[in-house]
Symmetry: C2
Subunit: 688 residues, 2 copies
């Protein structure tokens, strides 16, 4: 509220000096000083580039101009920037010392200096300059009639070198335009790694010219052509983003084994009368593309030379598509059931002195190291690859936590202590629908651990992981954004930037601005609600999304079989997001009221109840001609009932016994309806 007031006042006079607290920068820069005065934006605004940058800077500047122009509606004269020193007199001067190399450890720093009549961005490489342009866009201010940049000096650089987002394109396939717009989002948030999960039980997504069976049999026709992949790699390079592809082996193997069952681990013992091919008393199992979510047994056979022959050939075709130095081979969630049941594999373990399935998997993984090295690639894998014989060059991707029965991020500490480089994803599982604060406060640098400087240096950074069992092309953006922007800040900004409330304020604005990149996290909510409402007015539904959140963790899609991977996600829950807006506002109102029971504070709380009672009425009206509203009604009814009673409680008019009131409120803790829960429940309980 204080901020709002200051903003409104600032809006009234063009020369009002802006305060740091009013800026909506994200990630927050390492150093910023505001000075008196402003740079006024005009139609003649022009940019000039000098130095020795990579040519990607020209496209970057052109896109910057278009976005700035879109916000300001000024129609700049300058069109496309195509060469060095094109407009020496330009107001914005960008100088880069050298061409930036896509990858880790590149100098991404920049200095942005905004003066009354001149703006300069100085950076070692164009990658830093691109970051500087994003900051400049975020510096844009306005009064009632025009736009300007406040005079400032900013020096900035990232805290971690690996600032990534993973998108799973295997479960719900995500078309090229989804990937592109999310890469734009990454670049806007100064992130630099896009981890592309391309193969899983539910599909193989890479066109293979030498092994066409993989797409013919294991993609449902949903895959990226090699040309498309090359285009995406180029697109990412132009935006300073490294692409790390992933082919998940030896587990999560249903798709690969659908095409090549002969390298699977499953044994079928023939008892006669089967139509399957007879091979010395056992038969090759058949596999199918997995349609459900979960952990499945199909696993590559590590004892079969053909397995390595095929993988080597696959890497030979896939690696050249990705110029980056890292290749993710998955390695997670291999439960070893089919290995245990296969006598040939057991024999192989014995012969090779491999005591456990873990050791067997390490044997398997170590065969892949040279296949990748041949193409100049370093192997990366999920933390399960971390065993005593694993190559020290492997990068360990830490992901497990309490959900998997282990200590959160323990593998990260283990890895760096053993000399491995590592990336943290535990705590950054954005598909699990946890609130933004939980991700924001999740630091890759472990608080309690006793780590040496050298060990700390092995912590490369972190990565948000967007698994797509429950995200379609229509909904994925609202699962990735805006929470990934907060993760970006964790990975870029100083360790002590941890004020959640301040982050939320900035995130609202950042989220709005991400729309200009084509991201659909805001706009597609109404699309889903219109479908749910059957083209009736969506107001009641819209209001209800403000207190509802999708079930968290793994509570939605129980057993992984409620929805198939081809099921469209067009339900009320798909329009909801974590951090439901009114839940936060309600909590604040409740806290204020409990601290100070003034009539004003009471009225604020009561207003929510009145609103929720009206929502329930609205949803009931709507449901008369909208079957998809029906599943939402019981939860709205529960909130209505609690609200009705709490209104009486506020006025000391309730005649309900304490226990009955408690149970009325506890009904609101339901997770049984429409795959959502009420974000207001904990605040309601405070009123008991």
């Amino acid at each position: 509220m204080k901020y709002l007031l200051v903003l409104l006042l600032a809006g009234l006079t063009s020369s009002a000096q802006i305060q740091k607290e009013q800026l909506n920068l994200m990630p927050w820069p390492q150093s910023i000083a505001l000075n008196d005065g402003n740079f006024a934006l005009t139609k003649n605004f022009k940019v000039n580039v000098t130095g020795n940058p990579n040519p990607r800077i020209f496209g970057g500047v052109t896109r910057f101009l278009r976005r700035l122009d879109g916000r300001a509606g000024i129609f700049f004269e300058q069109g496309f920037i195509t060469k060095l020193n094109e407009v020496p007199s330009a107001e914005l001067q960008i100088n880069c010392t050298k061409s930036g190399k896509i990858g880790l450890y590149e100098d991404e720093s920049y200095h942005l200096d905004i003066k009354q009549n001149k703006i300069t961005i100085n950076a070692t490489s164009d990658l830093g300059a691109l970051h500087g342009l994003e900051t400049l866009l975020q510096m844009l201010q306005n009064n009632n009639t025009s736009f300007y940049f406040p005079n400032a000096q900013i020096s900035d650089f990232p805290r971690f070198t690996w600032r990534g987002l993973m998108i799973d394109a295997a479960r719900h396939f995500q078309p090229i335009d989804v990937i592109k717009r999310n890469i734009d989002g990454l670049a806007a948030m100064k992130m630099n790694v896009f981890h592309w999960h391309l193969v899983d039980d539910q599909g193989w997504r890479i066109e293979m010219k030498k092994h066409p069976k993989l797409i013919e049999l294991a993609s449902d026709g949903m895959y990226y052509t090699q040309e498309e992949i090359k285009n995406i790699v180029k697109y990412a390079d132009e935006r300073g983003i490294l692409i790390v592809p992933e082919i998940d082996v030896p587990g999560h193997g249903s798709a690969i084994l659908t095409a090549y069952p002969e390298i699977g681990s499953k044994v079928i013992t023939l008892t006669g009368g089967t139509s399957e091919k007879n091979i010395q008393g056992t038969a090759i199992a058949t596999y199918g593309i997995e349609r459900n979510a979960g952990i499945f047994s199909p696993t590559l056979d590590p004892s079969n030379p053909k397995t390595y022959q095929l993988l080597s050939e696959l890497f030979d075709e896939v690696c050249p598509l990705f110029p980056g130095a890292y290749f993710h081979i998955g390695g997670d969630e291999n439960e070893g059931k089919d290995w245990d049941a296969n006598p040939k594999i057991q024999e192989f373990k014995k012969k090779n002195n491999l005591a456990t399935n873990h050791e067997l998997q390490t044997y398997f993984t170590m065969q892949l190291v040279p296949m990748l090295k041949k193409h100049g690639k370093q192997l990366m894998g999920w933390e399960e690859i971390l065993t005593k014989n694993m190559s020290k060059e492997a990068i360990i991707h830490s992901w497990r936590g309490p959900n998997e029965g282990v200590v959160a991020g323990q593998s990260l500490v283990d890895a760096v202590k053993k000399g491995y480089k590592t990336v943290l994803s535990n705590g950054f599982y954005i598909d699990l629908m946890y609130p933004v604060a939980s991700h924001y406060l999740n630091d890759p640098m472990p608080k309690g651990a006793d780590l040496s400087t050298e060990e700390k240096a092995r912590i490369l950074g972190g990565e948000a992981t967007m698994w797509t069992e429950l995200a379609s092309p229509t909904t994925i953006d609202s699962r990735v954004w805006p929470r990934t922007a907060a993760i970006a800040e964790r990975l870029w900004s100083a360790e002590n930037i941890t004020d959640v409330e301040n982050m939320r304020k900035r995130l609202d604005v950042v989220s709005f601005r991400l729309e200009e990149l084509g991201l659909t996290h805001i706009r597609n909510k109404e699309v889903i609600l219109r479908n749910v409402a059957n083209n009736q007015n969506t107001n009641a539904l819209d209001e209800f999304t403000n207190v509802c959140e999708p079930l968290k963790g793994y509570k939605r899609n129980k057993g992984g079989t409620e929805y198939q991977m081809y099921s469209p996600l067009t339900l009320f829950a798909d329009a909801c997001t974590p951090d439901s807006k009114d839940s936060l506002a309600f909590d604040e109102a409740v806290n204020q009221y409990l601290a100070n029971k003034t009539p004003e504070n009471k009225a604020k709380v009561a207003a929510f109840f009145t609103k929720w009672i009206a929502i329930n009425k609205g949803l009931n009206e709507l449901s008369k001609n909208a079957p998809l509203v029906q599943p939402v009604l019981p939860l709205a009814q529960k909130l209505n009932d609690a609200s009705q009673e709490l209104l009486l409680v506020l006025d000391n008019k309730s005649t309900l016994k304490a226990d009955d009131l408690k149970s009325l409120i506890e009904q609101c803790d339901s997770k049984d309806h429409a795959d959502v829960e009420l974000g207001v429940y904990t605040s309601l309980k405070k009123l008991l």
Copy 2:
């Protein structure tokens, strides 16, 4: 209102018999009979395909299942349909006699029969079956808890064989995803031609491997790769859509001549001291990609053998990308200025007995005929190619009308009388922002003309043309849809289906359903308004779009130089569309009031004024922190002033002289603010 009531009642009882008038089919089928009873949709709903269809039917059925499932939220068990007779017992049986060929004159008819427990679609070809599936989707009804199809028998076929949409990808480049979702829209509306305007003064959009200069110098990096084009052609084929590519020559030549100035017509007479290359006293002019909108002089030199050499090579590379039998060569708006000024060209004309520039252009065009025929392509061109020596095989694309100083559609009559086949676009210029009714009532079959059966048969159909001087990827869908759906009905349905009010009612629902294809015509409005509002509440802006329409005809972007082709279109006008919602509702209220001045009717009219006064207030509030709202204010003020006074008039309390009231209302006829006009003006005038 009557419809609404019937719908609501229908919603209450699942077995209520639906009436034809309640169906929201578009295009309306040739024959439909409703029967008692319904087919209830369940999770087990399955489809089976038999006969000899093209395999495109399998993808078509799979997409049908996903869309139906998305609407009903049922999560069908059936996933992907991949072969014939997969589920013989399925409830929906589709039989096709033969494989449909993409092109004109194919049998696209179908018979859809919905019975209590069985639905059948019988069609000659899979193209007809795809149309049948679209009709079935439109037949979906619901009560309060479930979805069903009413029993019915439908026999259907198109009135015209050419039902097209042109998208201009040269002015504002339109990325692949824009093209794909619009192709989906065409298929949903049973259209069958996508005309892709790929080259114009503002850019060459086709990757050329043998002539890379065209994309290096004349595309600004915005072009389709050949692989992308092939993918789009395949995508269109899978949806029954023919692609007709266009390379516009000899006029609209700035892009081609930017890469190949040596085949341009412009003469530069050397007067010394120039840096340009000296060729016997004249020099080759330099050309640049055009940044403005309009008609420009750069024109290919028809007297230069190199021109034909180059064009022949270009066609050799481009034609194989498009398997269809038609190639559009433009041919429009060549004003001949550079020809007149070029002595060499004048000499050439004389030598070849070409009396006029028209004859010279015909000479030019005739050289292209064999170049295209070599690749099995028939030449098509805008109506200017229609001259006495033009090959009778050429298809004449009729487009000019009063805007161009000629009788609307006259060239269509001329063409068929002279033996040419023809397609109508005059009256279908959707970029001009005319109301849907004007397009809907524009019949390719001219009313008054005395045409023989043979001549009539030469009228192939019509095509909506979406020029993109004022349409970006963010806004184009709202310019194309939903009006193109009404054009689709004109081209498919019987001649006597012309009830505008009934069409509007159906169009509302059809427009909503088009969203599921990814079309952004509804959702992107808020995106633009959020930007205009500077992330403040958009309600007032949203309400104001309901009475504002973008300037019509060629009134926006005066002189073609206000906006450059690279300017983003993020203004209030870009969020507005023709047929502003409240303008229609207000007109109805005014008519009712004037016919019968009851207090109720007066109150209805007054409610609009009250709303508009509130909008003005809201916009003024908003503008305090939103510079892009400023240009909108004067118009809102004018509507406010008229509304204030008309409220008094309604109550007989106005003290204004008749002339002053008139001028107060006439102020609302303004076209001077924010590139929009008030859709309510004509209705306001009725109140004088």
